[in-house]
Assembly symmetry: C2
Homo-oligomer: 398 residues x 2
């Protein structure tokens, strides 16, 4: 279905330009649930955490949230005690404007590290963003959290849970510092499903692990990664409990929305022109499959070959061999979109290199690796490493 987070009943959103970005583009987003919602959330695994992450972790602990405020252009990371005070003040101002407790407001900030938020501008803009809240405002909110993203990212899905329609929607942003361990910068989602508190947190963890933790842009891990799912219960289904009836369908729905947004993040990776799925099967274990897939997905030499549309399969062999996963080079097979290139660790006789070059000329394809050792399999989405990535990142703060 079309739309994003505001496709969910009872969810309003908006985005305005507060003047944090010098360009004057939208940079302050707000998501508001008309009723208090259960919240499940996961945050960056980076030991250096932004002030907003620290405040949101504290607020999410209650299991209840009713709003998410997020700004772009300045990450409010490595800003000391004052940064934490600034983040708290914003949640208080938003809470006051919405007449909800500050502790029910989550906060996110993305952008340059080490610079304080321009609090005067943000204080002045909070009434504006509250006023901008609307059932059509999901897109504006998605725009207001963009940094080097070239397009806003949103997705929504309607499913049936125990005979009742349930909507799941969200917005997300990337697109640098994207790494396997808790991938995206922001993914804010909502659903009208009624979900038991503990179940919601485990659904979010599991869905993140299967979607956002299976992508990579550059192998770096942001200090501000935040995923939150608000469940406001307006669908009035019988509460979804772990292992209970209907929960599996709900989990699949959340995963589907996150997976769609995860693919959008990689497709829009900094400087990226290709979305490539690296699948590994035949590994000695599932963990090995993931380790091998990540090694291939993160190798600068594989990623530059993808950029150059160059069927340099030796680099894939190299990345498998260095991965730490168990590899017997004489058993490795590699195929591009089903077109086999490598068998028994060597170039397949009669391999159709022209066909493989043609596949690599496309915008999206799969590299399927079979290690021939066991039954472990997994998958990671990656993109190419381009000159544009370097251009974007060589001059980000200045």
């Amino acid at each position: 279905m079309n739309g994003g987070v505001t496709a969910v009943p009872g969810i309003l959103a908006g985005g305005v330009g507060a003047g944090i970005k010098p360009s004057g583009k939208k940079d302050l987003a707000l998501i508001h649930s008309s009723t208090p919602a259960r919240v499940g959330a996961v945050f960056t695994t980076n030991q250096v955490k932004g002030a907003s992450v620290l405040v949101s972790m504290e607020h999410a602990r209650s299991g209840i949230a009713q709003a998410i405020v997020a700004s772009s252009g300045c990450a409010n990371v490595c800003t000391g005690e004052q940064g934490v005070k600034d983040a708290r003040e914003i949640t208080r101002l938003v809470g006051d404007a919405l007449r909800i407790p500050a502790r029910h407001v989550l906060i996110g900030a993305t952008g340059v590290i080490g610079v304080r938020l321009p609090m005067d501008k943000i204080r002045a803009a909070i009434p504006k963003v509250v006023k901008a809240l609307s059932p059509q405002g999901g897109r504006a909110a998605a725009e207001a959290i963009m940094t080097t993203d070239t397009r806003p990212k949103e997705a929504a899905l309607r499913i049936e849970v125990n005979g009742r329609p349930v909507t799941i929607g969200g917005i997300a942003k990337g697109v640098g510092m994207i790494e396997p361990h808790m991938a995206t910068m922001f993914c804010f989602m909502a659903t009208d499903a009624v979900v038991a508190p503990k179940t919601l947190q485990s659904v979010v963890r599991r869905a993140v692990d299967r979607s956002l933790n299976r992508i990579t842009v550059d192998g770096d891990t942001s200090t501000s990664d935040t995923v939150a799912l608000l469940a406001n219960g307006l669908a009035e289904n019988a509460a979804l409990e772990t292992g209970g009836r209907g929960t599996a369908a709900f989990v699949r729905g959340v995963e589907a929305v996150m997976e769609r947004m995860a693919a959008m993040l990689v497709r829009d990776g900094e400087g990226a022109s290709k979305l490539v799925a690296i699948t590994v099967r035949g590994a000695a274990s599932r963990r090995d499959a993931l380790t091998a897939a990540r090694s291939v997905a993160n190798s600068p030499l594989v990623k530059t070959a993808i950029n150059g549309q160059d069927p340099n399969w030796g680099r894939i062999m190299m990345a498998l061999g260095k991965s730490g996963a168990k590899v017997d080079q004489h058993r490795v097979a590699i195929a591009f979109e089903g077109e086999v290139m490598v068998e028994g660790g060597v170039l397949k006789e009669g391999a159709r290199l022209d066909r493989i070059r043609e596949i690599m000329g496309g915008a999206e394809y799969t590299i399927a690796i079979d290690l021939g050792l066991g039954r472990g399999e997994d998958r990671v989405l990656t993109c190419d490493l381009s000159e544009e990535y370097v251009r974007i990142n060589a001059k980000y703060t200045t």
Copy 2:
């Protein structure tokens, strides 16, 4: 002292064009010791190993070697049984020409993976490279092992060991697929010192760990990395034994030569314009210091900021936080060439950004990180990630 591997008495070398490289440049190198030498060698940790590595590992096991033959332009990796047969044949042909057993010949090959060596061309060129052997041939050999290297790499040192002059010299090549775990592609060294067999191997391991294993260009690990040190004993010193008199001085000498070549490798990293030492002190352990330094040295975002001469210290904080080493963000200090930028995890008041930009404009500098937690310290050499790196690697095989 000037020169490289042929600065060592009794060591001849040469390099010729065999026609492996389409450019017609030198691509076949030979190093020959006039007398059988003890050999210490270490090889890539990549589980996918080139045919030459497999043959050299077998040959090095005897502890004796008298020649090293190495070609560039084709790596002879992932070439199956035939690749191993080809490598064996080359060692046999070289052995026959030099009248030494094939098992005393080490072999290396670097270049594209997955392509067989042009054996006809190599067979024809072996008599030529044997004829080219000379006491001035070190440079030609260094040239003949270059791939994307822009300049040959050699170093030599004369030291005194127990009152006797001892020479240590070598040649090396990079400059992509360079990663912490057994870094360089090739580093071939020789010395006239008399060294006990077991001592030689441990000296090489230790020196590699302190020099070549402390550099990174792109975090990828070649399938062909080979380091070998031939010790022909012509200096006639009393044999150097582990823990014995003079051994420490010899170890320092080997390390010094390897360190010089390691710095040359990074300085000439693919597309690199900067050589940056990342030093970490105050870590909870030495292992943590190395983990933290490597994470900073390998971060694409740090490396692009170095390229852009952009004092984006937040990315250094990010890379420390994601490293897995113990980090307390409130204790981190960061300085560029002694100019302090970050204290207590935040931008130092009065930090002289203009001065730091000026430092980053130079070709070589040090980023010193103090984690403020303990006494662990270590150091990694890295380079910038440039658009040129992507250009070089997007089109390597085609």
